[in-house]
Symmetry: C2
Subunit: 320 residues, 2 copies
Amino acid sequence: MRIEINEAVQFLRSHDDYLILMHASPDGDTLGCGFALCGALQRMGKRARAVCPDQIPHRFDYMREGITEQEFEEKTIVAVDVADTKLLGDMKALGDKTSLCIDHHVSNTEYAEMLLLRENYAAAAELMYEVLLALGTDIDRTIANCLYTGIATDTGCFKFSNTKPQTHIYAAKLMECGADIAPINYAMFELKTQGRIKLEQEVLRNMKYFGDGHVAVISVMLDTLAKITDIDSDDVGAMAAIPRQIEGVDIGISIKEKKPGVFKASLRSSERIDVSVIAQQFGGGGHARASGCSFECSYEETEKRIVAACCEALKQAGII
Amino acid sequence: MRIEINEAVQFLRSHDDYLILMHASPDGDTLGCGFALCGALQRMGKRARAVCPDQIPHRFDYMREGITEQEFEEKTIVAVDVADTKLLGDMKALGDKTSLCIDHHVSNTEYAEMLLLRENYAAAAELMYEVLLALGTDIDRTIANCLYTGIATDTGCFKFSNTKPQTHIYAAKLMECGADIAPINYAMFELKTQGRIKLEQEVLRNMKYFGDGHVAVISVMLDTLAKITDIDSDDVGAMAAIPRQIEGVDIGISIKEKKPGVFKASLRSSERIDVSVIAQQFGGGGHARASGCSFECSYEETEKRIVAACCEALKQAGII
């Protein structure tokens, strides 16, 4: 059932003993919403804990500052920024017991009893800010840091087209509540481990161009990763953005060796090409500008097949 | 003489035949202010042209969309985002004839007859937005694009500590005036030339660490640049941000060879260090988190002197 903010507020006020679910492979938005709501409920005198099926990277540690570890038996389940119970990993079973979901994904499967959805919002944290304002909780520095992080990370720090005037207005208000933006943005967008710098050098050194420079391919091989210490999955995932950032490139391909003989190709594209169509040809999928698919063959064969499909798409689009 | 906005507006209304000076090595802020003011004055029925001592990179071409090339003899000189006549390159002589300077640099030398300064603003474009509002000119899409670019580029797309609530509020207002943020931000922050990619690889390969890893130094030498085609001054300037992005680094130093025996050191720092103080020791200046200074000696001597000063600052701050 779709509900509005006042109904969500009424629900949150009249229940207790909250379990707040955040999605697997957690990002700044699900964590920001989860910890902000958890902190707000605790400040209202309620018991609450926020949980995630996957480990939370250390760069998000500051979000827990205002949270108290409480002993209680959970009675009320709320999911934040979780579009589908499939995104709950090994907590999937809890998804079907969710009373309230607060989300901004158009793809939300309406699995929760009550759904508060704003599909035109850049971040679920924008909606959570509205919920907390309506709840009347004090948005202190810690909560402001959580919500600001959600907004900043889901918009590429206000760079992407999902950023709206409202996004900036809420960022301004959260700064006035004490959000400490410079260290947050440094940790989210600038900081690179020495391992990541080494990996970037390695992948750039082996980058190849195809289709008159409209396609760029990088590869992340297991033997390369084995040579680099001080690297995490975030660092590896960040490589996917690199080839598409190069001038003239319409399709950026990052081929990652998952295990010997198994490769994952991540595709990123300009507005001239829909890469979800290309990924679908190989049983994959995703968004028009970011998609992926898997191959079980040699690296050479993987590269040959995905590059051929991309060049064909460029031809059909009249680009080459 | 320091003046306020109403006086600047009165001046701009009562004069004509404007030459607008933008600083050498132009960035998004000086260009955004220059072309926004030029467009606004032209829409008021006045004659105006905005000039820059250096070539303007093509990625800023969209800023000229609203500008008409006019034939006239310049009578009134206005400088925007120009802190010092030294920053006017071979137009330096015009600096002393400047009637009005609109700027946000605390280091402004007050060379102009009248100075409108907001040293606490992140971008001169924020001040220019206030001036154009007070002038009553229509902030159309082209002017909004110019001013948004100035604000976005001077704040690292709202990432840096100079970003204030006002910065976000003005960004929201400029979006409502039609600023087309996604392509601007892609061109400013994501797009890289193939030459830039090659240069990044080269500087990363030679990066050095000092002060227990709290200082990282890269160098951009003329013989390296000579080997790379497809590169512009922007690409070279962008290198300055790289060393400070590495985990654990408090001071990032980029040393650029301007000509044989002449080097420019660009400093970037964490909140723990004020690099403007370090730059001043060598006759340079700038902001607390980003400053620069020049050396006339060998590369080795340049590196030795600037690294020693940085390590001393780290010691005084109790970091090493």
